[in-house]
């Protein structure tokens, strides 16, 4: 899908590959079915003196016109399902060991991110807390710990092919591994009220050196949080520490 | 408005089951999924919250047991009413229907006593999700009891005159359903407590 959107996580290529597999299979069936409909519609136009054939489709012989293609469709379905299950297993069912952990708290209508502080642990007082501004290191497995303060949100980074709802009262862990440095969009994908459309954030994927420099800069000028994008109407007071996990 | 006349369609019977009985079964089918949905939700929560067993201790087991008895007895009366209606015995059909309604009334009185006592002890609907389920399920059931009693009241005059006697059977089927729902609610909310 690189033509439409960059893929910058380790599993983006898997998901895109699945996309093309499905496209090829259903594209074939779509064109065949469409072609037959249009061919029949043109070929069997009413002609004076030509009577339609009396075909009821009651015998198995006639029904095989329907069932043979259906069996082929089932085989395609099976192929798609196996491919899906393997990608899904990789993306959502397994959790590779984390190099870094990030706390993500959704609230109306901003994202609060907690980065591991200099001690390399999340949930300690030296955590670096930002609003709508997430920093991660390239080629490291990032665990995101997703929570919500109020309603459902959905933490979506399209370029990473990452998306997961955040649910109040629960803590859900997801993972991704960014592969290309850059600044990308984070969207909220679940309607969360009046400011849903303004719940935008950025993710900055950077090299270890850049990340360390950023961390130092933030720690030094700790008085001010890095600014939220101007569009966000409610730069909520960020909590000093992450809410303890369940 | 011109007087309503029953269309021919109503009295056709391609399945061999009278239309009214067929319809009442479909009503029950759609009711079953309503209560089924509610009870399933409750069960899912109940398995996740063992502490609800302690909450369930505060429902009134004796009152619930009494109500179970009352409701089962009223179901017996509605069967007797049906038998009477089959024999065109309008006097007894009417009598047993009234007894069934009385059964419903006693049930509601006991229920009202339970609610009053529970609410006055602070077990209100907002106390916890257990109590929210308790009030929702029992009130929904109570509304069905009231509905059944109302319909019985409405068909009484006709029954007394010997008209539309098949309706005794239909309301009886419905009343049994109301009874069966209670037989699910009673163990779930009263018996399955920490005390037992």
């Amino acid at each position: 899908m690189n033509h439409w959107i960059k893929g910058v996580s380790s599993y983006a290529a898997d998901i895109d590959g699945l996309f093309w597999l499905v496209t090829a299979l259903i594209g074939f069936w779509f064109i065949v079915a469409q072609g037959i409909v249009i061919y029949f519609a043109l070929k069997y136009r009413r002609k004076e003196g030509v009577k339609a054939a009396y075909i009821t489709g009651k015998t198995w012989r006639e029904l095989s016109w329907v069932f043979i293609p259906v069996v082929l469709v089932v085989m395609c379905d099976g192929w798609i399902d196996v491919a899906t299950a393997s990608v899904w297993h990789n993306v959502k069912e397994t959790l590779p060991t984390a190099d870094h952990k990030v706390g993500v708290m959704g609230q109306q209508w901003a994202w609060t991110f907690s980065h591991e502080g200099p001690d390399g642990k999340l949930g300690t007082p030296d955590d670096i807390v930002t609003v709508d501004d997430l920093h991660v290191v390239v080629n490291k497995v990032i665990h995101v710990d997703l929570q919500s303060k109020d309603v459902l949100h959905s933490f979506s980074i399209p370029v990473m092919r990452f998306k997961q709802d955040t649910i109040p009262g629960r803590s859900i862990t997801g993972w991704f591994k960014p592969t290309v440095p850059g600044v990308y969009d984070v969207q909220c994908a679940e309607i969360c009220g009046l400011g849903h459309g303004y719940m935008a954030a950025r993710i900055t994927v950077q090299t270890q050196a850049d990340y360390d420099a950023w961390m130092k800069a933030v720690a030094a000028g700790a008085t001010a949080l890095p600014g939220a994008p101007a569009a966000s109407p409610a730069p909520a007071a960020a909590p000093a520490t992450q809410v303890p996990q369940k | 408005m011109s007087a309503f006349q029953v269309p021919i369609a109503t009295n056709r019977c391609a399945t061999g089951i009278p239309t009214g009985r067929l319809a009442i079964w479909w009503v029950l089918a759609s009711e079953i999924v309503i209560f089924g949905g509610l009870v399933t939700c409750y069960l899912l929560f109940r398995f996740r919250h063992p502490e609800w067993a302690a909450e369930a201790e505060h429902t009134k087991l004796a009152a619930g047991a009494l109500n179970t008895f009352v409701l089962l007895t009223s179901s017996l009366f509605v069967v007797l009413a049906h038998v009477a209606a089959c024999n065109k015995d309008t006097v007894n059909a009417r009598k047993y229907l009234i007894w069934t309604i009385l059964g419903g009334l006693i049930f509601l009185c006991v229920k009202a006593y339970e609610y009053t006592s529970e609410i006055s002890h602070g077990y209100t609907i907002t106390r916890s999700v257990f109590w929210a389920f308790y009030y929702t399920a029992t009130a929904l059931h109570g509304l069905h009891v009231i509905g059944g009693m109302t319909i019985m009241g409405l068909i009484l005059p006709d029954v007394a005159k010997g008209k539309n006697l098949q309706r005794v059977e239909y309301i009886g089927i419905y009343w049994h359903f109301v009874d069966v729902v209670w037989l699910f609610l009673f163990p779930l909310f009263y018996i399955a407590s920490a005390a037992s």
Binding site: Y54 | C13, P18
Partner: protein
């Protein structure tokens, strides 16, 4: 419901039709118990609500094309109004357009006529059903006048957003919305019991189960799916209402579970798609047979596979929740069931296509809409495979790809199917023929414009654009000129599609005033409704028909005529 009309002693059918005396305007058109009038009441209410729903889509599409600009016939759209328009557009199009037109309107009008009886089995329950539905319609629209505005938490109404005023900021709108939906469901339950009982019990003399037109089967199966899936949502609606009004915590984080609502909603919400799909497929079967003069290919196979669709539709719901925090292992199961359900649907589609084979196809306007439905629905159907695949859904969930996908299923069903029904039955309902030329202009204009609305949206979804976003300016990847051009193209195509409804309106008015008389059977169809007068009188037939054969005996070898009405003795 139990108190409804059941006569103890069956009146013999012969001395029947004396009772259809002249009636006043009110009892004839407003408080009628006649299934045809009730069907038309449902349909007209549905058409009115369709205009409302299209107006809403016009407003928010205009806003998306020109953010914050003044919109003609509306003004400037605020974020709150945007949310409530998006929410109510969805709600209205599903519950107040698709359901009343495709299920209630069509079912009420056609079932008694197609199975050869004089009315529904419980006409007064039927009337009550429409009255409850009408009340729900008024209630939903009243929501827009409530202080704080109409509900804006999406048609799925996920709590906690929908449960608490401090989150959704619509203190009355959310309760009104929920009550309106609940009432609407009650209306359809009342109607549904009528549909199923009528089809089971009141068939014409000689009509066996498999002599019923497929349309009746499909409506009945759709109704049963509805009745069997909506119950948990009713229970859920009661729970949500208590959360909203009394402050219980069924769906709150404090002791409750927000995801539970999603299960209850989608346990109904997905079968609902098939509730809308099946009547439409039924109509297409009827129309294809009539206009290609061929028997339906594999009648019984279609009916059986439809039952399979119904059963499978009950076990696919969680594919709406792949990323909603359910157990990932569960997702694999639902992904499998979702992809399996494409099998029976494929059987039905292939059988419909096979029906065209060696036919004598005449492209009258209803046939154009029916073939258009198949062609467009195929795209909606196959794009569903992407979303049923859990791993791909991670990316596509809640993007415009989903929007484009379900509009490609629902617009063919509701708009194409709706117009197919309208143009097919217009001669029966009014006794007048529609103009073919205006009908063709309407079809081609609408069908082409429709593709230009939603194909761009597939691509904006592929590029990662999410739904229900008021303002894209916060997202660098989505503010490019290319992305904006996709939005603008969709909006312009929508305007074109709306403009192409003008020929339709002219056509209807013109035909009502001076259309050619239709006669009883303008399409030379077999099914029983075409043996009644156009329009059929109260009671439908002077003498109820008797049936001798199945509904699809077209082009039977050895017969001079290429059709053979079900009630013709020979």
């Amino acid at each position: 419901m139990t108190s409804s009309s059941v006569h103890a002693d069956a009146a013999p059918e012969a001395d029947s039709h004396a009772h259809h005396a002249p009636q006043s305007f009110w009892s004839k058109y407003i408080f009628s118990v006649d299934h045809k009038i009730i069907g038309l009441q449902y349909t007209l209410t549905g058409i009115f609500m369709a205009v409302v729903g299209v107006y809403m889509s016009y407003v928010f599409r205009m806003h998306l094309a020109n953010p914050a600009a003044h919109i003609p016939f509306y003004g400037v759209l605020s974020p709150a109004a945007y949310n409530s328009l998006v929410t109510n557009h969805g709600t209205i199009m599903i519950f107040w357009v698709a359901m009343p037109i495709l299920l209630a309107g069509l079912g009420n009008y056609c079932i008694p006529l197609m199975i050869g009886c004089d009315d529904m089995v419980f006409p007064r329950v039927n009337r009550l059903s429409f009255q409850v539905f009408f009340l729900s319609t008024v209630l939903l629209l009243v929501g827009f006048m409530a202080p704080g505005g109409a509900f804006g938490g999406a048609w799925t109404s996920y709590p906690p957003l929908s449960a608490k005023v401090e989150y959704n900021l619509t203190p009355h709108g959310n309760v009104i919305w929920l009550l309106a939906v609940a009432l609407e469901i009650v209306a359809f339950l009342l109607g549904g019991i009528n549909f199923v009982t009528t089809a089971m019990n009141s068939r014409a003399k000689g009509m066996k189960m498999f002599d019923m037109p497929v349309l009746v089967w499909m409506i009945v199966i759709a109704t049963i799916i509805f009745m069997m899936s909506v119950g948990p949502l009713v229970a859920g609606a009661v729970m949500l209402l208590l959360d909203q009004t009394l402050g219980t915590h069924f769906f709150a984080a404090q002791g409750g579970d927000p995801v539970l609502w999603q299960h209850l909603f989608w346990f109904f919400g997905h079968p609902e798609v098939y509730v809308l799909l099946l009547p439409e497929l039924g109509v297409v079967c009827e129309i294809i047979c009539v206009f290609s003069r061929k028997p339906l290919f594999g009648y019984k196979t279609i009916v059986y596979t439809t039952f399979m669709v119904g059963i499978l539709s009950m076990i696919v719901w969680a594919h709406h929740q792949f990323i909603a925090g359910i157990d990932p292992r569960m997702a694999s199961i639902f992904s499998l069931t979702t992809i399996i359900i494409s099998i029976p649907v494929a059987v039905i589609m292939f059988a419909m296509i096979a029906t065209l084979f060696k036919g004598s196809i005449e492209f009258k306007v209803p046939m154009l809409w029916a073939i258009g439905l198949i062609v467009e629905f195929l795209l909606g159907g196959v794009t569903g495979i992407y979303l049923g695949s859990s791993a791909l859904d991670v990316y596509f969930h809640d993007t415009y790809f989903v929007v484009a996908h379900f509009h490609y299923t629902l617009i063919p069903l509701v708009a194409f199917g709706g117009f197919a029904i309208f143009t097919y039955y217009f001669p029966k309902v009014t006794g007048k023929m529609l103009d073919e030329r205006l009908g063709r202009i309407h079809f081609w204009g609408s069908a082409i414009a429709f593709n230009f609305i939603f194909i761009p949206l597939f691509f904006s979804g592929l590029a990662g654009e999410h739904r229900r976003i008021y303002d894209y300016s916060g997202f660098a990847e989505l503010t490019t000129p290319h992305m904006q051009s996709l939005r603008t193209m969709a909006t312009h195509a929508l305007l074109v599609m709306i403009a192409f409804q003008i020929p339709f309106v002219i056509n209807v008015i013109k035909s009502l005033l001076k259309g050619a008389p239709a006669g009883a059977n303008p399409w030379k169809a077999n099914t029983l409704e075409w043996t009644a007068d156009s329009p059929p009188p109260h009671g439908n037939w002077a003498e109820l028909p008797e049936v001798y054969r199945g509904p699809y005996e077209y082009s039977v070898p050895g017969r001079e005529q290429d059709y053979w009405p079900q009630n013709a003795a020979n």
